[in-house]
């Protein structure tokens, strides 16, 4: 084939451009530490990167959700423990007041303490976390119990709505303990619903009553009702504990998928530093070699050797 100077020039130029492009690409990868710069670099990888990135962001959010749910549940749990303690104290008082040896005076004192316990239970029912009331159902902005009115109002001002948090893709858990549903209800709203408040009010009334029937009621129905309330609280505590375990499991899952997703994203998008440096060095070497050969080929012609 006949070769002309211009052909050589063109060839050298296009080779230089190609080599330069490779250097440019390698430099870009090095400086951004990423190999996936545009979707066309790896279309399937780009799609995967977008979905994985969304998953990572979702995981961050799930983590925040779980943490908030845990705070809520832990506060619920400790409040329930507090109420359990109050209930035990009420039980002791009931046993003390129900004995025949207790005089009327003593029973009135016990009744007064029981009323204090009711106030404390209602106060516990108004526990809030982060500015919202835990036991008001979905009426989270109004206190579920009236602790100020005189004479006392026992009614429940919340509702029975479920408050839930999403702790994973498509998984939500109920995080509020409902205090006014079930038989007997956990705390209830007084008025004969069998809830803890109602039971305590009955005990207080029977202590104050002083008749034989009252004393009998204390020993039988009231004691049974209080036991039923205790069972109920224990049930709810168990549920809360189970949910807390679920939150732990969900958090573990989020951590695991987070790790996997991070690794996948990194594999898809990020460069392997050693490979990238090698590529850059190779590209530079090739470019320099192309420059060198180009320079030695383009210069001479027969002209240089004619006298």
């Amino acid at each position: 084939m006949r070769i002309t100077q211009n052909m050589l020039n063109d060839r050298v130029l296009s080779d230089l451009t190609r080599a330069m492009n490779r250097v440019d690409r390698a430099t870009q990868e090095m400086s951004t530490q990423r190999k996936l710069l545009r979707p066309s670099d790896d279309p399937v990888g780009a799609q995967r990167a977008v979905l994985t990135r969304a998953q990572l962001q979702a995981n961050e959010q799930y983590r925040a959700n779980i943490s908030q749910a845990r705070g809520w549940m832990e506060t619920t749990s400790s409040t329930l423990s507090e109420i359990t303690n109050l209930l035990h104290r009420a039980n002791e008082l009931l046993v003390e007041g129900a004995t025949d040896s207790a005089g009327h005076e003593a029973r009135l004192n016990i009744a007064a303490e029981i009323d204090q316990i009711v106030a404390a239970v209602k106060h516990a029912g108004n526990t809030s976390y982060g500015g919202v009331y835990l036991f008001g159902g979905t009426k989270t902005t109004t206190p579920p119990y009236d602790t100020t009115s005189e004479p006392a109002v026992d009614a429940y001002f919340g509702d029975n709505g479920i408050v839930a948090r999403e702790i994973g893709p498509g998984v939500s858990v109920q995080i509020n303990a409902l205090v006014n549903v079930g038989t007997p209800p956990l705390l209830g709203g007084g008025g004969g619903d069998g809830g803890l408040i109602d039971t305590l009010r009955n005990i207080s009334a029977h202590l104050r009553g002083g008749t034989a029937a009252d004393a009998e009621a204390l020993r039988t129905t009231d004691l049974r009702a209080l036991q039923a309330n205790l069972t109920r609280i224990n049930e709810v505590q168990a549920q809360v504990g189970a949910t807390l375990n679920r939150l732990d499991a969900a958090e573990d899952r989020v951590e695991t998928t987070h790790e996997a997703a991070t690794r996948l994203l990194s594999d898809t998008e990020d460069i392997d530093a050693a490979t990238a440096i090698l590529q850059l060095t190779t590209a530079q070497t090739v470019y320099e070699a192309a420059l060198k050969t180009g320079a030695s080929i383009i210069q001479p012609s027969l002209l240089d050797f004619l006298r």
Binding site: S40, L51, G131, L306
Partner: protein, 453 residues
């Protein structure tokens, strides 16, 4: 001895030799001068010996006749060109320029898309789901609703701006196409110039001249047309030609008249699908239902899915229900005006802690809308990569086609230098012959008949 041959015959022969060498050197000079001229075809002098003198008798022993060589004549200044190499180069040129245009435009599309990364629509979408989760976590708090609406507006703005930018890329392609095909555009001005050159070439050829420079000019213009679209060239008498895009009828130009009189932009100028080249690429990119139109349609489908899903889960108008395309997506005006009106629950009386709606909307994360958008990225990425590969392949083939053509038609300085020495020597030899003949005649004229003087 031969008789009947003029004593001065040899002088003329030597003179022709001198003149031929001079002409050959002139052509060499012309070649060297144009070594770097784009589109220049190297020329060579065609020499032919002259049958100068017919001697009927006495030229040879035994009184035979002869035809005496009378020196050399220049018969042609030949352009050294290979029609097949031209055909190859031009075919490849239209393929390569089509791939170039497509790859460049799709690179712009990728730039506009800005994915993968944390500045694209995917991130804005994720933030919207995050914001809904935050609302679900704190439905009592109007601040989270404010943040939600801000994020939703940012997403809608981002989608609208992406749509506008994609449309701009498409419109630019359409405008470029129009610029090429209008009355004053590249195609027709080239065609008109070729028609004019055809007329001149025809006239010169008919008059027996060799319009090499004009032919070179015409070839350059044809190369330019081949870049714009695949051309078919038909030879006509007297070196004239007709050119058509593809096999379309009527041809772009016949002889010295352009057959087109388009009203801009006239898409009937080229066949459908367009004949490759830049206009083919631009047409495929910008036409209705073309490459970018399909991306816009995909984007619309994504927006429709997003708006429909969110509004269905929301149980009302979170996004303006009228805005189901990428150009029109907007957060419902009432919500945008007062974020506290964002509903979080469908429960009667809307207790402040209920978050069923927020949970339902947040659960859309990673759903159909997310997947549709990721699908769009996959599609654009795949097509851009395909275009880049075609560009690389076409460039490589074009380079070798160009090398083949240059190999035939390009000027080699080495070759010209060697020729220069050859012609210089020939010139010197002819001059030497002339002076030898002159010496002989001097002897004959001035020295003969002077014996004893």
């Amino acid at each position: 001895m031969p008789s009947g041959i003029s004593s001065f015959f040899g002088l003329n022969t030597a003179l022709r030799g001198l003149q031929a060498s001079q002409v050959a050197l002139d052509v060499t000079a012309h070649n060297i001068a144009n070594a770097d001229t784009a589109g220049y075809t190297r020329q060579a002098v065609e020499l032919e010996q002259v049958v100068g003198l017919k001697v009927s008798a006495g030229a040879r022993a035994g009184n035979g006749g002869a035809l005496l060589g009378g020196g050399v004549d220049v018969t042609a200044y030949r352009r050294i060109r290979d029609a097949f190499a031209d055909l190859q180069y031009r075919t490849q040129k239209s393929i390569s320029s089509e791939a170039d245009t497509t790859a460049q435009t799709l690179a712009n599309v990728e730039l506009v898309l800005n994915e993968p990364g944390d500045k694209g629509i995917a991130t804005l979408l994720s933030r919207l789901w995050d914001a809904w989760q935050q609302v679900a976590n704190q439905p009592e708090d109007t601040a989270t609703k404010g943040a939600l609406v801000v994020n939703a507006i940012a997403l809608a703005d981002g989608i609208r701006s992406l749509q506008a930018q994609l449309t701009a890329v498409k419109d630019n392609a359409a405008q470029e196409l129009a610029a090429y095909t209008t009355a004053g555009g590249d195609i027709l001005s080239n065609a008109a110039e070729i028609a004019r050159l055809n007329a001149e070439i025809k006239r010169a050829t008919a008059a027996g001249q060799q319009p090499n420079a004009l032919l070179d000019q015409r070839d350059r213009l044809i190369d330019r047309l081949a870049e714009l679209g695949h051309v078919t060239i038909t030879e006509l008498p007297n070196n004239s030609i007709q050119i058509a895009f593809g096999n379309v009828n009527p041809p772009l130009l016949v002889d010295d008249t352009t057959a087109w009189a388009p009203t801009p932009p006239d898409t009937s100028l080229y066949p459908t699908p367009a004949p490759g080249g830049i206009i083919g690429a631009l047409q495929a990119l910008s036409e209705t239902g073309g490459t970018i139109d399909q991306y816009l349609a995909d984007l619309d489908a994504f927006v429709n899915q997003l708006v429909t899903d969110v509004n269905a889960a929301y149980g009302g108008d979170f996004f303006d229900p009228a805005g189901t395309t990428a150009a029109t997506i907007a957060v419902d005006a009432a919500i945008a005006a007062d974020p506290s009106t964002v509903m979080t629950t469908a429960v009667a009386g809307s207790p402040p802690g209920a978050n069923d709606i927020a949970l339902a909307v947040a659960a859309l994360r990673g759903g159909a809308a997310d997947r549709q958008y990721a699908g769009l990225i996959l599609r654009i990425g795949s097509e851009a990569r395909d275009a880049n590969r075609r560009q690389d392949a076409a460039t490589a083939v074009l380079e070798s086609a160009k090398a083949r053509r240059d190999s035939v038609s390009g000027v080699s300085i080495d070759e010209e230098m060697a020729n220069m020495i050859r012609f210089q020597r020939a010139y010197q030899a002819s001059a030497r012959t002339l002076s030898t003949l002159d010496d002989m005649l001097d002897t004959l004229i001035n020295r003969t008949g002077r014996v004893g003087l």
